[in-house]
């Protein structure tokens, strides 16, 4: 006769697992009633067998086998929004990842990024001294105490040659609009979003503390972010002290206001058919849907078409939750689906507002070999082209 504990192996082999996840802030795990909504809405469902519901159940009862898939979640938040029990499923994955990290079971390519975050304050294995290298021949006002806005650049914009174009466009526009802003250069470190979503809580704590210190030191009141991930970190994650009223906003909000107030008047015609991709962190995470569309529509000559999955139902590029750093084999890339969706609308340009989306979508375009057909531009790049009456 098998003993009870032997039988338990089949029912619930490792109940401690659930407990550990609960302790790592994943307590909502318990609320799941296994309806499968998350699996149905998860963007991965369109590509491969990925089943958050099943993973939750496995974790709850302590079955092994959830480990590899736990790195899949791109933090797009669609499941959380649709979950009838309002379970923060991305948080559960985050908790699971923090445990996996403690076991040293991190995908190696992500580990590289996390190590770089700890050592250099950016995920791109670049030197912290070289963050402001792009400003050498492109002057940007420095932030001093009393400057109205701190322009928080984002590592990807600072280091990635492609995204440097975006931040340069940002700087040009802000200068044109005479916005009182400044950049802190090498004092900036990564907002920590990817560390947090990869479950690297310690690294996140270190990064967020460093930024908080600088914000405090410079008495920062308003932050302009280029990356929605930074925005989300400051708005929803950072632990500001009571009384520290730091307002964070995304650039698209600033642009929309400037255009509305007629400070910026995009007069140059852009004769392209464009579509807009809602970054998950800008849209679902922070409810910013209208401003980018307003900006696009304010540009003369432009033809704006929407994709099928937009706004609250936007389809993720695959870059969130550490996805930018994780290897995905061809045929399993969310970005590919999104790009194809954009191509279907007949658009020649995908406009977006997140450096990760830029990277993922461009990689997909390149990978699909359709770079002659469609390209990716940021809202800033689009706006600047119109302001300078140049081609997009």
């Amino acid at each position: 006769m098998p003993t009870t504990s032997e039988l338990m192996k089949f029912a619930a082999p490792m109940l401690e697992m659930a407990q550990t996840v609960v302790e790592a802030k994943g307590e909502e795990l318990k609320l799941c009633y296994q309806c499968g909504t998350c699996t149905s809405v998860c963007p991965w469902g369109n590509l491969k067998d990925f089943n958050p519901r099943k993973l939750i159940e496995m974790i709850r009862l302590g079955f092994e086998g959830f480990e590899d898939d736990s790195w899949k979640c791109v933090n797009c938040k669609l499941c959380w929004d649709k979950c009838p029990n309002q379970i923060n499923i991305p948080q559960i994955f985050q908790s699971v990842r923090s445990i996996l990290l403690a076991w040293n079971a991190c995908p190696p390519e992500l580990n590289i990024a996390l190590t770089s975050l700890r050592d250099e304050g950016n995920p791109w294995q670049e030197s912290k001294e070289k963050r402001d290298e792009w400003t050498k021949d492109f002057p940007v006002p420095a932030y001093e105490q009393g400057t109205e806005y701190l322009l928080f650049s984002c590592c990807t914009n600072d280091y990635d040659p492609r995204n440097k174009k975006d931040i340069k466009a940002v700087v040009e526009i802000l200068n044109m609009a005479k916005v009182n802003y400044g950049y802190i250069g090498n004092k900036e470190v990564c907002c920590g979003d990817i560390a947090l979503s990869a479950g690297e809580n310690e690294g996140y704590g270190m990064l967020s503390n460093k930024n908080l210190e600088i914000f405090r030191e410079l008495a920062v009141k308003k932050i302009l972010t280029i990356s929605p991930h930074c925005l989300n970190a400051f708005k929803n994650r950072y632990e500001f002290n009571e009384g520290e009223e730091v307002q964070s906003s995304h650039l698209v909000q600033t642009y929309a206001k400037l255009i509305e107030d007629k400070v910026l008047e995009p007069k140059g015609e852009i004769k392209n058919k464009v579509t807009y991709h809602d970054p998950c962190y800008l849209g679902r995470h922070n409810d910013i849907y209208d401003e980018p569309r307003f900006i696009i529509n304010s540009i003369p000559g432009i033809e704006f078409v929407e994709m099928n999955n937009i706004r609250e139902n936007s389809f993720c590029c695959g870059g969130g939750g550490g996805g930018c750093w994780l290897e995905t084999v061809k045929g399993e890339r969310l970005g590919d689906l999104r790009v194809l969706e954009a191509v279907e609308t007949g658009a020649e340009v995908i406009i977006t507002a997140c450096p990760y989306c830029v990277q993922m979508l461009e990689a997909s375009i390149l990978g699909l070999g359709i770079d002659e057909k469609i390209k990716v531009r940021t809202v800033s790049e689009l706006l600047l082209s119109s302001l300078k009456n140049e081609e997009l």
């Binding site: 309806c35 699996t39 089943n51 099943k54 649709k82 009838p84 099928n308």
Partner: protein, 657 residues
């Protein structure tokens, strides 16, 4: 405070088997409590609530001449009444008693035994201090008016009214719509027996219409209720019908001739009705009303066709609303429910995609008296080849309603049967859990499984018309997970039925204020006790029947209606009613007439005596919440049994250790 003579207190500590004694050191407690100067005797017993336990208390009261009694045992919510009866038996006023909760709030929640013991002693000490100032409170009784008001003319209101009327008492039945019948009149078949709703409902509707003891007020609303149990005064507004029912013969010519058409609410907008209309052909009373908003004569003073064609001369465009006052002894709330509106659930394409129907729309579609004469057809008139039925739309979902609507599983299974029977289409039912707890419900579920309905366990996340494969072209695609095979599925179908959940009425909050019965967060009326008093409410004399208290099926609704009517009849047959003793009162000598209490009282139980310039509490209306006592700035309003000094004593007591 002048020191008064110490009253003799007896303390009785219960072991509750081992429930208390395994954690709380009873011996220590008794020893510590005995030492208090006020305590004459302290005893413990295995089961204080048992007959020997009660006898022990009675014996000590008599032998020691106890003036106050304390029982430290379970929650007062469980056994306060039991022990109060012991005091009454022993000729002590029942309010000379205090119960100390050392089980639910000590033994069961404290890990450390010493701490639990210490807590028990502190709680008992507090009670010992408190009971010193307890006052005897008398029983109070008032006469009961034998008339009953029933609000709502659905199956619950109909059933309750008939029961009371048949017992020989007057019933005022107030219905907002132009006819009684409620939602049940919209249904075709009922689960699990599949008998037709109309066949079982219409006879009852007719009885209500013609019963000599029932004063049926359709097209009417209750606008004010004052008074208290046994003596309510109710104001009903009779909305203008523009048809004189004395003269109207119900011939229907006016409805035939009326030129203005509006979408029919009874048929869920699937067809149109006229501006002068009866709700449905079997309406009771079967006489029309004019919908003032859509009548060309009433809006533009043009037309007047109905008046011209009415041979009885029953049309009266000058009709005005009328306020009627009635006196009743009890009120039955049977205001019913609405269905969750799926248009907020954008993901299911309702309102955007053709052939996505709500449950109620399907009921009408399927009803023999409905817009298609009971044919299940798609919008283009063709028969569906495949139908998906999606459970839990707006139910069990924190984004909409967290609760389970209880009836949807069963009616969805019924739909599956009807679709199979009438069209032979493939049916895909997406469910999270099938809930079939009811007589013959599980058997019905079994029967449906035998009918080759495809049951898929998983909640549907999306309905789309964007095809991925050729099979999906021109179809509605239902996307979900089959959680049992752990596969994401896309099912192309012709028709989607959304099993929408039950919601409280939109005006539940207004009704709540009117009847002074609180609603829960979902807008359903709160019972006095969810288990032991599911039909009574916190407002004495007001009972709830049917779905206004939460999702119920027809048998439960009828049962609760019969329960409500029997409680109303109980009141009538008793003739008198005992009312709350622990009410508030105002010390005349202290009241300065600032009127602050008047604005605070939720029951309008306080009136201002203009002669004496003081506030006076109508103790019959008072429910004893004590808000006035907390508010009264001069300390004139006092809450019986919860006076300031009693609470102060209790505070000092709990802090004594």
């Amino acid at each position: 405070m002048a020191a008064s003579k110490i009253k003799k207190v007896g303390v009785f500590v219960c072991h509750c088997g081992v429930n208390i004694s395994s954690v709380v050191n009873i011996e220590k407690v008794v020893e510590a409590v005995s030492k208090l100067p006020e305590v004459t005797v302290a005893r413990d017993y295995k089961f204080m609530c048992s007959t020997p336990g009660q006898e022990l208390i009675g014996k000590e009261i008599k032998e020691q001449g106890l003036e106050r009694v304390i029982v430290a045992a379970c929650s007062p919510l469980l056994h306060e009444e039991t022990f109060r009866r012991v005091l009454v038996k022993s000729d002590l006023n029942q309010y000379f008693f205090q119960m100390v909760n050392i089980r639910e709030q000590d033994a069961w929640v404290t890990a450390d035994k010493d701490k639990a013991t210490q807590k028990a002693i502190a709680l008992i000490s507090a009670a010992v201090k408190r009971v010193q100032t307890h006052e005897p409170l008398p029983k109070r009784e008032v006469d009961v008016d034998p008339n009953v008001l029933v609000i709502g003319g659905g199956i619950a209101g109909i059933e309750a009214s008939l029961q009371i009327a048949d017992a020989g008492h007057k019933v005022y039945l107030v219905e907002k719509q132009a006819s009684v019948g409620g939602h049940m009149a919209q249904f075709d078949k009922t689960f699990p027996t599949l008998d037709c709703a109309a066949c079982i409902l219409t006879p009852k509707m007719n009885s209500v219409g013609f019963h000599p003891n029932i004063d049926l007020m359709t097209y009417s609303e209750v606008v004010d209720i004052s008074g208290y149990i046994g003596n309510f005064e109710v104001t009903v507004r009779k909305n203008p019908k523009y048809v004189d029912y004395e003269k109207c013969t119900g011939c229907g010519v006016c409805m035939e001739k009326c030129p203005s058409k509006v979408s029919s609410e009874f048929d869920e907008g699937l067809v149109e009705r006229k501006a002068i209309y009866t709700l449905f052909p079997q309406a009771v009373p079967n006489k029309p009303v004019i919908d003032a908003k859509n009548c060309t004569y009433l809006t533009k003073e043009k037309c007047g066709v109905c008046q011209k064609v009415c041979e009885a001369g029953a049309i009266n465009y000058e009709d005005k609303e009328e306020l009627v006052k009635v006196k009743v002894g009890s009120i039955i709330l049977a205001t019913g429910y609405t269905f969750a509106k799926p248009d907020v659930l954008k993901d299911y394409g309702y309102g955007k995609l053709d052939n996505v129907l709500t449950a109620l729309e399907f009921e009408r579609l399927n009803n023999a008296a409905g817009p298609t004469d009971g044919e299940i057809t798609l919008k283009d008139g063709s028969k569906p080849q495949s139908v998906a039925i999606l459970h839990c739309i707006g139910s069990r979902d924190k984004n909409y309603n967290e609760y389970c609507s209880k009836v949807c599983c069963m009616y969805s299974l019924k739909f599956a049967h009807l679709v199979r029977e009438k069209t032979g289409a493939e049916v895909f039912e997406f469910y999270i859990d099938i809930r079939s707890p009811g007589k013959a419900y599980e058997e019905f579920y079994t029967r449906i499984r035998e009918e080759d309905v495809h049951l898929i366990r998983g909640k549907v996340a999306q309905v789309t018309d964007v095809p991925v494969t050729d099979d999906e072209k021109g179809k509605l695609v239902v996307i979900g997970e089959n959680t049992l095979t752990a596969q994401r599925v896309r099912v192309p179908v012709d028709m989607v039925i959304l099993s929408t959940g039950i919601e409280s009425n939109k005006d539940a909050a207004d009704m709540s204020r009117l009847v002074k019965v609180a609603t829960d967060k979902d807008g359903f009326f709160i019972e006095r006790h969810p288990k032991m008093a599911p039909i009574e409410t916190a407002s004495a004399g007001i009972f709830i029947a049917g779905t206004c208290a939460g999702p119920r099926d027809i048998p439960e609704t009828v049962a609760s209606a019969q329960g409500a009517s029997s409680l109303a009849l109980k009141l009538i047959s008793k003739g008198k009613v005992e009312i709350e003793a622990a009410t508030a009162w105002i010390v005349e000598e202290l009241c300065a007439g600032c009127k602050l209490c008047i604005s605070m009282c939720p029951y309008k139980a306080i009136e201002f005596d203009e002669k004496k310039k003081i506030s006076v509490i109508n103790e019959v209306l008072c429910k004893g919440c004590g808000t006035c006592a907390a508010t009264c700035p001069s300390g004139a309003a006092k809450a019986r049994h919860f006076k300031d000094e009693q609470i102060f004593d209790e505070i000092e007591g709990v802090l004594s250790l």
